[in-house]
């Protein structure tokens, strides 16, 4: 395995960022247009802060584990 491999954490960061954007978007839409989904403790708006958290974690992984231009 001589070639430089992209870290798995980079893929995870990428997926979490996209998931975060989708979940945050759905959460904000639910905030603006309420009443479409009846989940318990809906007023916590878990989608908004959980989506934001995923974006933060995702970006941290993307930055720390981004593929380096100059390999070994």
């Amino acid at each position: 395995m001589a070639k430089k491999m992209i870290s798995i954490w980079f893929f995870i960061g990428l997926l979490l960022t996209v998931y975060g954007v989708l979940i945050l978007g759905a959460g904000i839409y639910d905030l603006i247009v309420p009443g479409r989904h009846n989940v318990v403790l809906r007023e916590l708006h878990a989608g908004v802060w959980w989506g934001a958290l995923l974006i933060v974690i995702g970006i941290v992984y993307l930055v720390f584990f981004r593929p380096k231009r100059t390999g070994k």
Binding site: M1, K3, M5, I6, I8, F11, I12, L14, L15, L16, V18, Y19, L22, I23, L24, G25, A26, G27, Y29, D30, R36, H37, V39, V40, L41, R42, L44, A46, G47, W50, G51, L54
Partner: protein, 560 residues
Amino acid sequence: MQNPGSLMSLNGVDMAIVALYFVVVLAIGFYLKRFTKTGNDFFMAGREMTSWVAGLSFVAANLGALELMGWAASSYQYGILAAHWYWIGAIPAMLFLAIVMMPFYYISKTHSVPGYLQLRYGNSSRSLSALCFGVMTVLMSGINMYSMALVLKVVLGWDIHFSIWVSSITVALYVALGGLLSAIFNEVLQFVLIWLGALLIPIIGLIEAGGWGNMVAKIQQNFQGDYTHLWRSIGSFSDNPMGIHWTGIVFGLGAVLSMGYWTTDFLVVQRVLAAKDLRSAKMAPIIGAGFKMMVPFIVILPGLLGLAVMPGLVGEAEALATGGHSYNEVLPLMMGRYLGPGLLGLGITALIAGFMSGMAGNVSAFATVWTYDIYKPLRKKPLSDGHFVSVGRWCTILGVLVSIGTAYLVMEFASIMDYVQALFSFFIAPLFPTVLLGMLWKRTTSAGGFWGLLAGTVSSIGMWIWVKVDPSALRIIALSPGAKAMAENMYRGLWSCLICAGVTIAVSLLTKPKPESALNGLVRSCTVLPSEKHLTLFRRPAFWAGVVFVVFVFLNVLFW
């Protein structure tokens, strides 16, 4: 749109999240194919994994169908007693693997557990172990597949055949393309998704219940019996909902079944063998143990919260008769209760990821054992490394196809699902003393290892048949006529382990051992292990094993 009869429905965002997951796991498989040219790359992930990747993969390979859905349901049925399977039923064994057994697996450079048996005992023990393992992995993989399809049918109303074929083709593709490397990478991804998808349930559930104290009070209001203590109620078979005694938990589960599973089941051991050096190989199970201790938070706690906020769930048969909900559905019911749009998609993705990581783990381990321990010994001519990589790729496809067949078999005979724990007691419990005596006692002979393993396996299957034919035999095997299936498995595992150890020792004392020079790197007293004195305290595996063990003791005392 909600399918008729399903528990919930996914909207466009949820569907996009699920679809994106399939795209990414396949993309990882295609990307990693270029890095898997040799047998070492394909079957051992190049032995280049860090302790963190190997450790997370070690735990994720075990987070299959039974873990997520099954143990959440078990905690609704049995209460916190189900957490024993995560603590005493896992942590001591994982630490034992790291500190005592891993050096021999790693130094011997074996590619598999049957491979170690070949080095220590010869071909007969290897072949017996490989065949048993092959049968067990294919059955387990099929059961995983069927469980996932069943969950998706119940929860979302998806067609069972669609779910089986889409998930199995995905797993077959990414494992066949990237081998163990691809399986490990995806398992780490799946582990992260399982946590992020399931973590909100206990968080929001605890807010709704009003904290741990109020949750316990509500459970006591809703149900009679002790559902929230780990040890207090198991002094007698009849005082707890599981019908088990502490001796079954400590000796059957803690000392035999979990030791057997976590130290000799190649499905999990393979992940650790892929570590880049001995220190990483020892650290991987310790890191895995740290995360394993926390899994009850996302699996057991939702079941307990269900007891507090959703009383009234019943057994499968009663649910079918009355049209109510079964406690087997407690996890998806909790998802539907708390997770709104987007989050529900992530929760469902977590479930699918759990099922697929279990399936991929079985398939990648099956391909290795089949190629190296069954196919290779049958070929007398020397063959190229590339040939074995091709065989491994085809074995992966073959393993998935056989698993699909098993999934359809399980569908026809649903009671096979009940035999999962029994499979472990047949094939894993007797393997533990065979490997352990081989590693720790130089007097153990090839004949002793083979006959002990055979006697343990045959006696375990024999005890199972005995109880099926004559149910009154339960009071002899499980020490109580009131013992339930779970307790029976624990005791059957214990007896088969003792029989295996007894036969191994007796036959070894009557036969000639190998010379010590042939046991270097395989047996403790014949091997000089690398010193760790040059490492600082915080880099020593033994230190971190001690930290994890202290936390394990603390948790048991806390929930006593």
